[in-house]
């Protein structure tokens, strides 16, 4: 069996009467690009939210990097090595592009108030390192030119890329991207695809929620399909495209057929 970075076992999450996740299990091999798809309201974002500690699961558990993922507060997840982006972009709008990425370094640095006020040598050194790393990451996503601008002034596609850079700044073992291509035009999506592949090549496992089937089918090695909170399929892109349950789920919903778009 391949080396698994992340495992979910029988995860269930209910919101009152709605069972948003119903006994969902999956395994993500280290270094892979893993797709999580499904019609609107299938429970994809809810899965991210439980795995990143925003919600507590009702049943089931997660394993990450060989250990049970016992998070009591969302901020512990970044420490463990999981970073995420948000479906509805959540940048720090009044902060500059560079500062947004610098915030991502928070969890890997430790200077406190004393170091800040007295500008101790160690705090200054750390600050310089944070800034340099942030600049590197901006170059990585090709946004260096906008480093000094407030992040709310960026174009939509740029904001999505910046969210990815900010997540990468936490030195994650796995990044969870929630619909990174939403609102992007065709050119931007191509750039995004290259970026995602580069992230995986550089050793970070990618978990991708996406409605853009062309992107998902091209970039993912493995895909899980959710529908009404249940896992209805699990396999390679070509297996998923042929899966009758998947086709039915997509045709039954408001979405285009999986195969047609791919």
């Amino acid at each position: 069996m391949a080396d698994m970075l992340f495992t979910a076992e029988g995860v269930t999450k209910r919101f009152g009467g709605v069972t948003a996740l119903d006994n969902v299990s999956m395994q993500i091999p280290r270094g892979s690009i893993f797709g999580l798809i499904g019609p609107n309201g299938a429970g994809k974002t809810t899965f991210f939210n439980t795995l990143t500690g925003l919600y507590q699961v009702d049943e089931g558990k997660f394993l990450f990097d060989g250990k049970p993922l016992n998070v009591k507060a969302p901020h512990e997840v970044a420490q463990v090595g999981i970073a995420r982006t948000f479906q509805n972009i959540r940048l720090f709008g009044e902060m500059t592009v560079l500062e947004n990425v610098m915030v991502g370094r928070h969890v890997r640095t430790k200077a406190g108030a004393f170091g800040a006020i007295f500008r101790t040598p160690s705090a200054r050194r750390e600050e310089a390192e944070i800034e340099q790393r942030a600049h590197e990451l901006l170059a990585y996503i090709d946004l260096s030119k906008r480093a000094g601008d407030k992040s709310r002034t960026l174009a939509y596609g740029e904001q999505r890329r910046l969210e990815i850079a900010r997540a990468l700044a936490t030195d994650p073992k796995m990044v969870a991207l929630d619909e990174p291509a939403a609102g992007m035009n065709a050119t931007e999506t191509v750039t995004l695809r290259t970026l995602i592949e580069r992230i995986a090549n550089d050793g970070t496992t990618v978990m991708l929620i996406e409605h853009d089937m062309r992107l998902v089918m091209n970039v993912c090695q493995h895909i899980v399909v959710l529908d009404y909170g249940k896992k209805i399929a699990d396999g390679t892109p070509s297996q998923i495209q042929k899966d009758p349950a998947v086709i039915k789920a997509y045709l039954g919903g408001a979405h285009a057929e999986v195969g047609a778009k791919a």
């Binding site: 925003l54 507060a73 009044e94 406190g112 000094g148 900010r166």
Partner: protein
């Protein structure tokens, strides 16, 4: 090349302005002294407001936590000084004990306020902090008859609404600042530095230290975490920021500055009473932060200077004599006119400069 020259020119004019401003700040108390010592006192109070606004700016402007009870920390600092350096308990500790102690007690009060409100935001937070400010004021008002369950005796801790009088001044190197400095011995005959003018320079030093401290905090790992919290708490958590800890730190640092200013206030004033620490005062400090430019230190300083000086200038301008001169009669009572103009000015600023008079720049 021309561009480089231009840049050099800009740098030079900037330098000139900077030096001019510095000189102005240094001679200001003497200029004000020519108009009367009351004006020097206004300058000193302005410097205290600069400190208070900077402290509140950490909480409201940088970390985005609305605090309507900030004056409570000012009160803690002022009462710490007043109780431990006055005839009230006949204690007379020196400033280097009292100022740090007052600041630390205020910070502690800040943590006490912070801990129960960690989960609150916006309006709810505002209400609770408002209540906290009122509680502190009411405690000071009523702690003149503190009884213990096992005895009938009552203890007078704060002297209630009558306040505490006869508070020690700041004593620096054996010099009681309130007494002023007589430099006629140095052959500068007739030239005296008044007590209030000496206080001005002490307050100025503390205000400058506050600016440096707050600036450095804001531009640090902790400062960025505060801003991230203000911008989006969920995203901040996802970045691994322990929002509980940094919220407490924000309340603590804001309170620390307030407590320090409170101690300085008591040492200059010689008299404190709960009346000085009401809700209106908290709102005034908040207005300085908001009108100046939230989270932007130059803006906050401008807000503090304008809002603490404006009422005094209007007081002068709205004077009966001035009205008499212009209109021949006194049309509106000066006190009413003063409040009218002040409120109007605030409304106009918010209408035309909703981001504050001097908000942080769009590009860095």
């Amino acid at each position: 090349m021309a561009k480089l020259m231009q840049l050099k020119q800009d740098k030079r004019t900037q330098m000139v302005w900077f030096v001019a401003l510095g000189v102005l700040i240094l001679i200001l108390p003497f200029l004000a002294g020519m108009l009367g010592q009351a004006w020097v006192r206004i300058l000193n109070v302005t410097l205290l407001y600069v400190m208070l606004a900077l402290g509140l700016n950490v909480v409201v402007g940088v970390a985005g936590l609305l605090d309507l009870g900030y004056v409570a920390f000012y009160a803690v600092g002022a009462y710490t000084w007043s109780l431990l350096a006055s005839a009230h308990f006949n204690l007379h500790y020196p400033f280097w004990v009292l100022l740090p102690l007052g600041a630390c007690l205020a910070a502690l009060a800040g943590l006490m306020l912070g801990a129960p409100v960690l989960k609150l935001r916006g309006d709810y937070l505002a209400i609770v902090t408002l209540g906290f400010g009122e509680i502190v004021r009411i405690l000071m008002n009523n702690f003149d008859k503190v009884g213990l369950p096992w005895s009938d005796e009552t203890y007078n801790i704060t002297n209630g609404p009558r306040g505490i009088t006869g508070i020690d001044g700041l004593n620096l190197f054996g010099l009681d600042l309130r007494k002023g400095l007589d430099v006629s011995g140095f052959n500068v005959s007739g030239f005296n530095v008044s007590g209030l003018q000496l206080y001005y320079f002490v307050f100025l030093a503390f205000a400058i230290l506050s600016v440096i401290g707050v600036y450095r905090l804001q531009h640090s790992r902790l400062g960025r975490a505060w801003q991230a919290l203000r911008e989006d708490e969920i995203a901040a958590k996802a970045m691994g920021i322990n929002t509980r800890n940094i919220k407490l730190a924000a309340f603590g640092f804001g309170a620390l500055t307030g407590g320090l200013a409170g101690g300085l206030f008591a040492s200059m004033q010689g008299f404190v009473s709960p009346e000085s620490f009401g809700l209106l005062e908290s709102i005034m400090i908040l207005a300085m932060v908001v009108l100046g430019g939230m989270g932007h230190i130059p803006g906050v300083i401008l807000g503090a200077v304008l809002l603490s000086a404006m009422p005094e200038v209007i007081r002068y301008a709205a004077d009966e004599n001035v009205q008499q001169k212009i209109f021949g009669v006194v049309l509106i009572a000066p006190e009413v006119l003063r409040n009218l103009i002040f409120s109007l000015a605030l409304i106009l600023i918010m209408l035309f400069k909703p981001q504050g008079l001097w908000p942080s720049p769009e590009k860095k």
